[in-house]
């Protein structure tokens, strides 16, 4: 029986690449090294609600059709639309993303990723102040102070702490967890916080206050810090600042608690400024805890192909970027989109009600291996192979390190990349005919 080593897990942004998979009769029968989330993804393939066949909604019901029919119907929607939203493309390969961008360009669509409801503000922060980071192995080998801010890796990135951060050992961190100080800043005592040397509980939405206070302390302006900031005592702020300043190498890992709470991108901007200030004293970097396994890849591919990482509007024939105006939710809430193509993400589950209500009114094409709330809104459903299991391709880890995902088993399903290519061809055919 084939045993495939060093498979890349296509679940979260940690992109663990040491998974051993045993395949028997084209079924995965054993998975080693994966965390519970990764394990569920590999086995879930055969247990969860796969979309078995392409479908088109007729008289309110999704009816099975051939791939050809579904792609034809989808292409017709795209050709007849004057304002298509293409959304998602984060749990798929860079190769598929590249084709999705080409499709958006050829149809004058607006294309956006899940960053719209996740780390989008981190991109805006980087555009304000830059993003001083490092690859995860740098943290593993060097960091003696690790801060998790507004993130909970125990549940969201279960192997992060053992492979890359708190518990990992490296050349200059031979003692692993014992030689490290671990700080968690959050609004509630998460399971990650329970493992920390220091847990700093802050009032919800007050991250920017604490970041600013820390910067004041790091830059020698203690006097401007009030007795309590963000629900944290001045004394604790000063101690935390000292810990960071006296580190040999510190890293702030930040999650949606920072990016999607009050002050949004200003929080990331503040963290970036704090990191720059800290480097006057010791080495410090920041890394965003990205969720979807290839949301980082979407940002990379979109940036080299269009100049922008997300919220790209091709209506003018060239890429135009103005998040707040050209984000996925912006065009839905304004009821501007007249059709949508949603792939490898679940807008139906994750978008605000007003956006979802508009999605229900317009033709929606879904490309996904699994049925999810978006399926309920979809007019054309195109099932796809699961990338990293049934299809190979590139993904970028949260630290922008690209890895090649392997194909582990055969499938009859088309890949996202192939579906996007088919759509491009069909759209060209329909436009040529018109």
């Amino acid at each position: 029986m084939p045993v495939i080593k060093d498979a890349v897990c296509s679940l979260c942004g940690s992109l663990c690449d040491d998974i051993t998979v045993t395949v028997e009769d084209n079924k995965i029968t054993k998975i080693e090294n994966a965390c519970i989330l990764g394990h569920s993804k590999f086995v879930g393939m055969f247990e969860h609600d796969r979309i078995e066949t392409p479908m088109i909604r007729k008289d309110g019901e999704l009816v099975p059709v051939s791939y050809e029919e579904a792609i034809g119907a989808a292409a017709k929607i795209l050709v007849n639309s004057r304002r298509t939203l293409s959304y998602g493309w984060c749990s798929t390969s860079c190769e598929a993303i590249s084709k999705a961008i080409q499709l958006a360009e050829e149809t004058g669509s607006l294309i956006d990723s899940t960053a719209n409801v996740c780390h989008g503000p981190s991109a805006l922060a980087a555009q304000e102040k830059g993003a001083p980071g490092a690859s995860l192995g740098v943290i593993k080998n060097r960091a003696d102070v690790i801060v998790f801010w507004g993130c909970n890796p125990v549940h969201a990135h279960p192997r992060h702490m053992s492979r890359y951060s708190s518990f990992s050992k490296g050349l200059f961190s031979t003692k692993g967890r014992k030689g490290r100080k671990m700080v968690v800043i959050d609004v509630r005592k998460t399971d990650t916080a329970k493992l920390a040397d220091r847990y700093v509980e802050i009032e919800q939405g007050s991250d920017l206050l604490l970041i600013t206070a820390l910067r004041s302390a790091v830059n020698g302006h203690e006097d401007v810090i009030p007795q309590t900031v963000a629900g944290v005592s001045k004394e604790e702020v000063l101690e935390l600042a000292e810990t960071l300043k006296n580190a040999q190498f510190s890293c702030v890992f930040f999650g949606m608690g920072v990016t999607q709470s009050r002050s949004k991108y200003k929080n990331g901007d503040g963290v970036s400024s704090l990191i720059s200030d800290l480097n006057q004293h010791s080495k410090a970097v920041m890394i965003g805890m990205r969720g979807h396994y290839n949301v980082t890849g979407f940002g990379q591919v979109a940036t080299w192909e269009t100049g922008f990482p997300m919220a790209i509007d091709f209506a003018r024939g060239f890429p135009y970027y103005n998040p707040g105006e050209t984000g996925a939710n912006d065009v839905l809430v304004r009821e501007e989109a007249d059709a949508a193509i949603i792939s490898a993400a679940d807008a139906g589950a994750h978008f605000p009600q007003k956006a979802v209500r508009h999605l229900a009114k317009i033709p929606v094409i879904q490309i996904d291996p699994y049925a999810n709330p978006t399926t309920e809104l979809a007019d054309v459903v195109i099932p796809a192979a699961v990338v990293g299991i049934e299809a190979e391709g590139t993904a970028y880890r949260m630290d922008a390190i690209p890895l090649r995902m392997k194909k582990l088993i055969d499938t009859e399903f088309k890949t996202d990349e192939q579906i996007a290519k088919d759509l491009i061809a069909k759209v060209r055919e329909l436009k040529g005919g018109a």
Partner: protein, 572 residues
Amino acid sequence: MSEILIKNANLCDPIQGINCENMDICIRDGKIVESVSENAEIIDAGGRLTMAGGFDGHTHSAGKINVGRFINPNDARRKLVPGLSGPEKRTEKTRAQVGYNTPNTYAIGYRYAKLGYTTICEAAIPMLAARHTHEEFKEIPILDKMGLSLFGSNWQVMEYIRDKEPEKLAAYVAWGLKASRGYGVKIVNAGGGEAWGWGKNVNGLYDPVPNFDVTPAEILMGLVEANEKLQLPHSVHVHCNNLGKPGNYETTIETMKMFEKVKPTVDRQSLHVTHVQFNAYAGTSWRDFETGAPMVSDYLNSANHLTFDLGQVIFGPAVTMTADGPVEYANSRLLHEKWSNQDIELEDASGVVPLSYSPKSFINAVQWAIGLELALLVEDPWKIMFTTDSPNGGSFVNYPEAFTYLMSAKKREQVISGFGQMALDRMVLPGIDRELSFYELAIMTRSMQSKMYSRPEKGNLKVGSDADIAIYDIIPGDIDPSVEHEKVKQAFSGAAYTLKDGKVVVKDGQIEATPMGRTYWVNAKVPADIDSAMQKDTDIKFKKYYTVSKSNYMVEDSYLPNPVEISTEGVF
């Protein structure tokens, strides 16, 4: 079989010693041939200036440039150079384009081709992220590509040098090139990337790297020995220590001198020093900063073992991007600019900071002058590659503007007239009246690269060479570049024709076709026993320190849609 006859070309081909002579050029199946049949398609060059396709041997065009794009979305909309920057709609033939310093991948291909360039070399591939470079290469149309892999702060490299294991070091370099599909050895601020892992830097050639007990000088000498042992087609490509610091010209000359004793095993230089403008600074601080170009040029005129490129500054916005992590942090603090950084485990560092060069700043004015002084004070153009270290000194789309600085003293005077007295006191450029000819320009932009990179089929139009050709709308005998510099700039800004492998890709400055270019990479052969001894050491590195598996480190074939493998035999 496809045949083209270019009639009445005014050929400037320094490798053949042809200096603007009218002749016909015959092409069959993408190569230059002696003659073609009567059925050949005819292009009438009409006596216009014809050169081999340009070859930019040091440009940041794939990989790190994406960080530049990411943090500077405003650059996408910049339209500073008409026809070669800013947003352009998708057409039947071309993808949508954006950008000036950091264009999207498609624009990089189209715009280089419009300048008559057909080959580029990406200046820095971080090996762990090499797939990224190749992914961008795949989306850069038309051009042939190669890239240089970073070795200068690599743990395995430093340990082998410390432990005096030159054979294993050579084997590791060979393996690293294969893993990253690189073309050559890039050394950036030797040892400085590792020091930056602790927020520190090395201060010169003999300042030991923390924890590794080697000096930058030893790293340079160790890697050049490996480079020559492997008979690599390119020499080591060095970004000197102390870049960007007043007084650094001394380190630069010292570095160049160290290589005098190196015997190259391939018929090329033993050292290439890159973007020397940033490393030819005199003075002791930014207050008494002045040009160090005369001292560096004096040395370069006396030496025959090396080549260098300019890193010419262009006034206006630029984006600095380098594996020299500490330099970028210093830039960001000095300029109060946004700062991105990306240290790569066990290998190197990097950073990206946008900036703007202003003729009103005496420092920027002197930097601008230093690049030109180097080009004009160094007598032998075969030692000089023209670059802006794009986009560090400025975007490559400004090359035509920069050519006029080299070819016209009048044009230089125009620019210099805007400088303050303090700037003028710190430079020697106003006293230089040399003006380069088309022949000398051709050497610096395509011919010297042929030898420098051991690509005999590039940078010339000999029989057998690649039919990569640029025809510019200039009749050399009818133009005085010294006076008519505006016409020269126009002509170089949009080639009348660019041919890539015998196919017309640009006509009258517009894109005609977008074939996919090649990617060159080097496979250096190493004796099996040395290779396996080296692999055992590398296995430990992956097991204990890297966060990716060794098997997932190697760039797969599928990332190189049109690969050209250059095999070399190591001398062990």
